[in-house]
């Protein structure tokens, strides 16, 4: 075909040249496309995704710690932190000046931070919210405000040593916060966001940032109110006796639940960095074994009765307060002559107890010490628990047998001591103490059931020991622990502290451990006062704390005293006794938790002219 004359100028070699050029360009474009779309596809896709998408790790909020009634003891709150990217800052001097003013930091320190070569520098962490807002309002390039969470303990020092504390990076560093760090922290999850050129989030591509699972919640056996009462009374007594420190543990014998664990001086985990407080951050109820002193006489006395080597009517001569046995001088705090088995314990005679223990072989005494749970961990769910120290009989020296009888040459933790007495209150069953009752994470529930380790004593021995321990409070060294209207069983202890390798005469550990009501024990309590200056004996320094604590705790737990006026709803139509003479306020009636409206009526009718009826308020 021939082109018409009009198209003739475009024919020939010029056309071929143009077509050739276009063909070459198309080929080049095609090859480039192939390279980009096929050979470099993966790399370029990654580059693009990196530009417009951002993957962030969402750390779940740390779980809470609550008491047995669900009252919050530890929670997390959002707080602002300020960081800088030094290379993005244009005028570092001006920025440093503004930041130093808002943050309240020295100008030189801020300038130092801004001049570092690092790509990321924390300037200030966990600030008050208003400071974070002020930094944000400055709108400085290269200065960013990030929301972090901070652990907060709304009840301040309450149970501080038990709860522990959390560092600025969110890791548990002490107490339950440390032991259950993994459960409390939870599992972080990834969220992918698409962002625009200005950095704003356009949409969520994967994961749901609003679906933030929280770490597990820890429900403790502690009761906030009992803990408060324990801390309050302990603080008062430590100050009264001008002691160095003090410790109280309250246990529910049938379950081994620790209802309160108080230390004085207090430790406020909100200020864990305060160096003055650091000394008191340890939970000494489990970490610091001590010589128990006379409270340990329980073991020798029980063992002698259980092994039938002594009877409660047996008499022991207490050598008028001084004797040398097995090469060691033994002394009593008062000179006693002949005392019965019961009186030896009631009056806490060291010589008498050594003679009782003398009827046991070394192996028998050692077996009972171990049977009461001494020399091994109680396996309570608290960190840092110590075994205590009890040497096996083959390592004993001559006086060891006597020393062990009245609580020397052995160390126990306060919790071990309380657990042993709680076994006496629990029909002889030695329980594993527990502080964490259950853990809840979403739908998952982990329960730490009460666990009985073994039986320590037979019922007849328990009955006799119970009577003896009641006698200690009614007639013996523990009179100041007596609570009006209740039967208290317990034992005093005054352990000399070891100073420069010998027993000190001035520094003692005064203690009282007991349980009540003796006929149906609800509470076992140990009180330890370290180095009291005013009242040095356990019966003087520690027993009064026991009394004050027990009174309030039993009232709170609605355990009526022997003189309490108690009426049953079934017999509420019977007339109520008139208020005792001298009372100026009419008695109140407290209906039990869960009482229905119908149950109020019989009481109201019966008491129409009498006391005011109230429904108990839930805590």
């Amino acid at each position: 075909m021939r082109l018409s004359g009009r198209f003739k100028p475009y024919s020939g070699p010029r056309l071929r040249l143009v077509v050739g050029c276009f063909a070459f360009l198309f080929c080049a474009i095609f090859i480039r496309l192939a390279v980009l779309q096929v050979f470099q596809h993966a790399r370029l896709r990654d580059l693009a995704e990196r530009q417009y998408s951002r993957q962030i790790t969402v750390r779940p909020e740390r779980g809470r710690i609550l008491d047995r009634h669900g009252r919050v003891l530890a929670t997390s709150v959002p707080v602002p932190s300020v960081y800088v990217i030094p290379q993005d800052i244009d005028d570092s001097d001006a920025v440093a000046s503004k930041l130093a003013k808002v943050l309240g930091q020295p100008l030189a320190a801020v300038q130092d931070q801004l001049s570092t070569v690092s790509t990321f520098v924390w300037l200030a962490r966990q600030l008050p919210p208003e400071v974070g807002e002020r930094v944000q309002k400055l709108n400085l390039r290269g200065v960013q405000v990030l929301q972090e969470t901070r652990r907060f303990y709304p009840k301040r020092h309450l149970a501080g040593q038990v709860l522990g504390f959390v560092g600025v990076d969110g890791a548990g560093l002490g107490g339950l916060e440390h032991l259950y760090n993994r459960e409390l922290t939870g599992t972080p999850h990834q969220v992918t966001l698409q962002r625009d050129a200005t950095g704003r989030t356009v949409q969520v591509m994967a994961g749901d940032p609003s679906d933030q699972p929280r770490g597990a919640d820890l429900y403790l056996t502690l009761d906030e109110r009992l803990q408060y009462i324990a801390e309050k009374e302990l603080a008062v007594r430590v100050q009264e006796t001008q002691a160095k420190s003090g410790l109280v543990v309250i246990m529910h014998p049938p379950t081994g639940d620790i209802l309160a664990l108080a230390h004085y001086p207090f430790f406020n985990p909100n200020d864990f960095q305060d160096p003055k407080q650091r000394v008191w951050q340890r939970n000494r109820a489990v970490t610091d074994p001590v010589e128990p002193g006379s409270t340990f006489k329980l073991v020798a006395a029980s063992a002698a009765l259980e092994e039938n080597v002594a009877r409660v009517t047996d008499l022991f001569h207490c050598e008028n307060g001084f004797v040398v046995r097995s090469g060691r001088r033994l002394r009593d705090h008062h000179p006693y002559g002949l005392l019965s088995f019961v009186q030896v314990i009631e009056k806490s005679s060291n010589i008498g107890t050594a003679k009782i223990a003398g009827r046991l072989s070394d192996d028998q005494l050692y077996t009972y010490i171990r049977r009461f749970g001494f020399g091994e961990k109680s396996l309570v769910n608290l960190p840092g628990e110590e075994d205590g120290m009890i040497r096996p009989p083959k390592k004993w020296t001559k006086p060891t047998h006597d020393s062990l009888a009245f609580g020397q040459e052995v160390t126990v933790t306060p919790l071990q001591l309380l657990t042993a007495y709680a076994a006496m209150a629990n029909g002889g069953l030695l329980m594993r103490p527990r502080v964490v009752e259950h853990i809840v994470q979403g739908d998952e529930f982990q329960f730490f059931a009460p666990h009985a380790r073994h039986r320590v004593l037979s019922p007849p021995t328990l009955e006799r020991m119970n009577e003896i321990l009641v006698g200690v409070v009614e007639r013996g060294t523990g009179k100041q622990a007596a609570v009006e209207g209740y039967t208290v069983a317990g034992k005093t202890g005054t352990a000399q502290k070891v100073e420069h390798g010998t027993y000190s005469h001035s520094k003692v550990l005064a203690s009282f451990v007991g349980y009540m009501p003796a006929e149906a024990p609800q509470l076992a309590i140990v009180v330890i006062i370290d180095e009291p200056r005013v009242a040095k004996w356990g019966g003087e320094a520690a027993a009064p704390v026991f009394k004050r604590l027990a009174q309030q705790a039993l009232y709170y737990l609605q355990v009526p005293s022997q003189q309490a006026q108690t009426i049953s709803l079934d017999t509420a139509l019977n007339p109520i006794p008139a208020p005792l003479a001298g009372d100026h306020e009419p008695p109140r009636i407290i209906l039990p938790l869960g009482a229905k409206a119908g149950e109020r009526e019989p009481a109201r009718v019966a008491l129409s002219t009498g006391p005011k009826i109230e429904k108990e308020r839930r805590p």
């Binding site: 919050v72 989030t201 408060y228 509420a572 407290i590 009481a603 805590p619």
Partner: protein, 128 residues
């Protein structure tokens, strides 16, 4: 072989130029229509994308608002817990309101049948 007679036409014979103009007008219309369809298609495709981006911005904003509200709720809960400190409540009760703990004789316990035994389940009581 004789050629068949051509069909007689009512219209006058069209000139070559006119035929080309009509043809180019049709082509133009077709191009316009195609362009409109392409544009419509593009708009149809882009509109949901634009909406999606807009909704994404709105969602992000709402998420930020939700976080702020949750933070505020958290702060208030913490404040409530702090206000419920027993030391503070006791101080208010004793110092400001003049209350004091009742004497043992001022309290009468009313027990239901199941709770007849004194102190039974005292510690075990839980919130429902």
């Amino acid at each position: 072989m004789p050629r068949p007679p051509q069909a007689a036409s009512a219209l006058p014979p069209m000139s070559r130029g006119r035929a080309r103009r009509i043809a180019s007008r049709h082509v133009g219309m077709a191009l316009l229509l195609s362009a409109a369809m392409v544009l419509g298609g593009v708009l149809l495709y882009l509109w949901p994308q634009v909406r999606l981006v807009g909704m994404g911005y709105r969602y992000s904003k709402l998420l930020a608002q939700r976080t702020q509200v949750l933070q505020r709720q958290k702060e208030l809960q913490v404040e409530l817990s702090s206000l419920r400190q027993l030391r503070r409540i006791e101080d208010i009760a004793t110092q400001h309101l003049g209350l004091r703990p009742p004497q043992a004789t001022q309290v009468i316990y009313v027990r239901s049948g199941q709770q007849a035994v004194a102190g039974q389940q005292a510690v075990g009581q839980r919130r429902p």
